[in-house]
């Protein structure tokens, strides 16, 4: 199912320990920056896949393996917590 970063707000609180939807994320592939809330998110699969709204490249992949969150952030050039509202 294709939604946006708002839909994984709770999961991101779990993973990062803080509210992430208003954090500015910069795509390592195309350089576009925007709030995590407006990334394109694919849910209900084996993991949660977060893609750039501008170029569809992978930003983050989150899986839950034996109760542990595994997070890959290689698609992000930056996550700027300080710029959030």
């Amino acid at each position: 199912m294709e939604l946006d970063g708002n839909a994984i707000g709770g999961l991101l609180r779990d993973v990062f320990g803080t509210e992430m939807t208003d954090v500015q994320a910069t795509c390592a592939t195309c350089g576009a920056t925007g709030p995590v809330a407006e990334t394109v998110v694919y849910l209900r699969g084996p993991g949660t896949v977060v893609r750039c709204k501008n170029c569809t490249s992978l930003l983050m992949v989150i899986t839950q393996v034996h109760g542990l969150n595994c997070v890959d952030l290689e698609g992000l050039a930056a996550l700027d917590v300080n710029q959030s509202q």
């Binding site: 199912m1 294709e2 394109v40 694919y42 209900r44 699969g45 084996p46 993991g47 896949v49 893609r51 569809t56 992978l58 992949v61 899986t63 393996v65 034996h66 595994c70 890959d72």
Partner: protein, 203 residues
């Protein structure tokens, strides 16, 4: 603290009493066909579609869509098992057995990395594809396979968890050594036998 039970809540597809269908451990049967993907649905026009077998960066053999559709195909009825715990029984597909395309190349590889439009990959031992229980499927339930379910063609490898049945497949990279594909790189099992409940790496 254990979660309180929500009175009257149950999973959507409870097995009927006396349902003797054997499904792998930890699975439940569903009647619908959930659409799960890791990215946007690709829409490669058929004139641009090819299926290739590659080794070491070289294409050994490639089929256009008409060439692919000219290959002998068979109709099969199989059960499919998703690692997200749903199983769908008696699904009917039509496709080209993978051994048919593999037989047209000379190879000595032991592993395969299947690759798809959109960048998805998944790895398999070549014997799991060559042994007659894997197909390149282009019809589902009597109709051409729709893009949401992997059309125009997808891998169908029902003896493994369904993430191995790569949607929008465009070819096979032949490898000497096993190399994890997309979900395998994020913690899922390299092989993925649902009957041994091999969901995650290390299971």
């Amino acid at each position: 603290m254990t979660s309180p039970v929500s009175r009257g809540f149950h999973r959507l597809n409870r097995p009927a009493a006396g349902d003797g269908s054997k499904i792998p451990p930890g699975q439940h049967v569903t009647r619908d066909f959930p659409v799960l993907s890791a990215g946007p649905t690709p829409h490669t026009p058929l004139p641009d579609w090819t299926f290739s077998i590659r080794r070491g960066g070289k294409t050994l053999r490639s089929w256009t869509w008409p060439e692919f559709r000219a290959l002998p195909a068979e109709t099969v009825t199989v059960d499919i098992h998703c690692v997200t715990r749903w199983s769908k029984l008696g699904t009917v597909w039509r496709g080209v057995p993978i051994r048919t395309v593999l037989d047209q190349v000379e190879y000595d590889a032991r592993y395969v990395l299947a690759f798809s439009d959109g960048g998805y990959t998944t790895n398999l031992p070549i014997k799991d594809l060559a042994g007659g229980q894997a197909w390149l499927a282009f019809d589902y339930d009597g109709q051409p396979l729709v893009p949401e379910h992997g059309g125009p063609a997808r891998l169908l490898v029902p003896h493994l968890y369904f993430w191995k049945s790569a949607k929008w497949v465009r070819g096979l990279d032949l490898l000497d050594h096993d190399q994890p594909g997309f979900w395998e790189s994020y913690g899922y099992h390299n092989y993925g036998d649902p009957w041994r409940e091999q969901r995650y790496a290390g299971d």
